[in-house]
C-alpha cells in the first residue's frame, strides 16, 4: 500500500511543485493521474520510488518511509518507466538493457536469461533481442524500457505516459497487460494525457492542477464532469462529450465507454440490444 500524506515539494530553483498532496493507493489498484502540464504529476510519482523526497509530509510504501531507504532498495518494489525512453536506455543491445538491473539485483545467469526471454515475449520484442535500442522506433524503445522494468517483477509499476508513440493495437495490448498485472496483485500507476485510453481502461482517476489534487474517483464520475476536467486542462472523452450534449434526451450522463453507449442508445431507441 502507498500512503502519501500532505506532501509538499519545492525544487532547488524555488518552484513549488507539490502543495500538500495526500493520496492512498491500495495493493492491486489501477490508478491514472491526469492533469495540466506542470501540475506536478511526474513530481508526485517520483516520490513513490524515492527519487524525490518530500520537503514536508511523508510517503510510505509498504510500511517503509521513503526517506529512510535508498532509491536502489525501493526500486525492487517500485518499477518506474520514464516518459522519454531515451532517458532510460543506454545499453548496446535490447537484451543487455533488460539484463542490466537483473544483474544488479544479483540474479544468476540462467534466471536472467529466462526473465529476459519472458519480458521480450510479453512486449512483442523477441525479434529485437540482439538489436541496439537506438535502432528502434520511439514506440518500440518505450516497450524496451517497460520490459526492462517488468523483468525484475516489481510490486508497484509506475508508467509515465505509456501510450505515447503506441498505435491502437499496442495500446490495446498495454491495456490487457495492465489488467493482468492487477490480477497478480500488482499496483499500476500511470501518468497520462491520453483520455481515450483512460476511458477504455476505466482506472481510478486522480486529477491534478497546480500542485494539488483537484478530484479523485471512478473514471466515469471524473471524466464526465466538464467543469472539473476543464480546470485540470483535460477534455472530455468523445463519448462523454456526446452524452453531455445529449443531456435531457432521456440518456444518462455518466457514460465514457463506446459499447455501453451503444447499449444505452439501442435501449432508448427501442431496438433489442
Amino acid at each position: 500500500m502507498i500512503k502519501i500524506d500532505d506532501v509538499h515539494f519545492t525544487y532547488p530553483n524555488g518552484v513549488e511543485a507539490l502543495k500538500g498532496v495526500s493520496l492512498e493507493v491500495q495493493d492491486g489498484e489501477f490508478l491514472a493521474i491526469m492533469g495540466q502540464n506542470g501540475a506536478g504529476k511526474t513530481t508526485l510519482v517520483k516520490h513513490i520510488n524515492g527519487l524525490f523526497k518530500p520537503s514536508n509530509g511523508t510517503v510510505v510504501v509498504d510500511d517503509i518511509e521513503t526517506t529512510k531507504v535508498s532509491v536502489a532498495k525501493l526500486a525492487r518494489k517500485v518499477g518506474f518507466v520514464f516518459q522519454n525512453p531515451d532517458h532510460q536506455l543506454f545499453s548496446e543491445t535490447v537484451e543487455e538493457e533488460i539484463s542490466f538491473a537483473l544483474r544488479n539485483f544479483g540474479y544468476d545467469e540462467p534466471a536472467i536469461n529466462e526473465r529476459v526471454t519472458w519480458a521480450l515475449n510479453l512486449l512483442d520484442l523477441t525479434e529485437y533481442r540482439k538489436v541496439s535500442p537506438f535502432m528502434l522506433s520511439g514506440g518500440e524503445r518505450k516497450r524496451v524500457a517497460l520490459a526492462s522494468v517488468l523483468a525484475w517483477d516489481p510490486k508497484i509499476v509506475i508508467l509515465d505516459e505509456p501510450t505515447i508513440g503506441q498505435d491502437n493495437q499496442q495500446k490495446e495490448r498495454l491495456r490487457q497487460f495492465i489488467v493482468q498485472l492487477n490480477r497478480q496483485g500488482k499496483t499500476v500507476i500511470i501518468v497520462t494525457h491520453d483520455i481515450e485510453f483512460v476511458a477504455e481502461c476505466k482506472p481510478r482517476v486522480v486529477l491534478m492542477a497546480q500542485g494539488k489534487i483537484l478530484a479523485q474517483g471512478e473514471a466515469e464520475k471524473i471524466l464526465t464532469n466538464y467543469e472539473l476536467v476543464n480546470q485540470a486542462s483535460v477534455v472530455l472523452p468523445q463519448i462523454a462529450q456526446l452524452f453531455t450534449n445529449l443531456k435531457g434526451k432521456g440518456v444518462p450522463a455518466e457514460v465514457i465507454d463506446v459499447y455501453e453507449a451503444a447499449k444505452i442508445l439501442l435501449r432508448r431507441l427501442g431496438e433489442p440490444a
Binding site: 516518459q83 522519454n84 493495437q169 486542462s233 462529450q241 456526446l242 439501442l266
Partner: protein
Amino acid sequence: MPIIETKNLKYTYPIGTKPAFEDITLKIEKGEFVVLTGPSGCGKTTLCRCFNGLIPHFYSGTLEGEITVSELRVSEHPIHELAQHVGMVFQNPENQLFALSVEKDTAFGLENLGLPREEIRRKVDWALKTTGTFEIKDRAPYELSGGQQQRVAISSVLAMQPEIIVLDEPTSFLDPLGAQKIFEVINTLNKELGITTILVEHRLDLTSKYASRVIIMDKGRIILDGPPKEILSSEEARLIGVGIPKVTRLYHILKEKGVNLSKVPLSADEATEVLLEVLAK
C-alpha cells in the same frame, strides 16, 4: 501542379534488409490537410523524412523513384533550401531544439534567411503568442517540460510560415486541452493561410475532424487514401487496427443493430447532430 508528388518511391535504411516503404505514389495538392496514420513501424515517419530532404541528404541508404516538393526535385536540392518550403516538427522535441532561449530558437530560421530585423521580430512574436510560449521566451528549451518543448518546436516552424508543414505526433506530451488548442491553431493556419499540412497521428479522435484527407499506411505501403469519413468508416481501417474515433465506432455498432444514422460522425458534435435526428423521432 501538386505541392508534393511522389512516383514509385521506395527507401531502404542502410542497415535495413527490407524497405521502410515502397511503391508510394502520391499527389498532395496545395492547402490539403492530410492526416497520415498506420501501425507503428509502418513507414510513416520515414516517408515524412523525404518531404524535407532528410532522406536522402542526411540519412544514407537507398532512395528509388521520384519525389518533388514545391516543384523542387528533393534529390537535387539541399535540406536548407527545402527547409524554406517545408517546416518539420519531430516526434521528440529534444531532437529539434538547440538554442539557448526559446526566442532564439524561434528566430533562428528567420535570421538565416537574412530578413529585416523588424520582420523577424514581428514573426517571432506572432509564433510565440500563437503557441503560448511568449511567457517563457527567455527560458532555455532544455530546462522546459516535454509539453512546453513541443510548443517551442511548433513555434520555430510556424515562425517561418512555410508552404508545407509536417508534424509528427506534435502534441503527444501536451495535456489534452493544450493539445486541442494546438490542433486548432494548426487547423486555422491551414484554412486561413492555406498552409499544406501533413499530420502524423495515432489519435484520430482528436484530429480527423480537421482533415480533408486521411492516408493509412501499413507495412511500408499506402493501404487507404481518401476523405476521412469514407476511410475511417471502412472495414479495412478497422481491420488494420488504427484508432478509429469512438463516435465513428458507435455509428458502426448502431448500424450493425439496424440503426442507420444519416452520416458518419468523426467528432462528438457531429454525432450529437445525427443522434438528435433519431432521438427526436
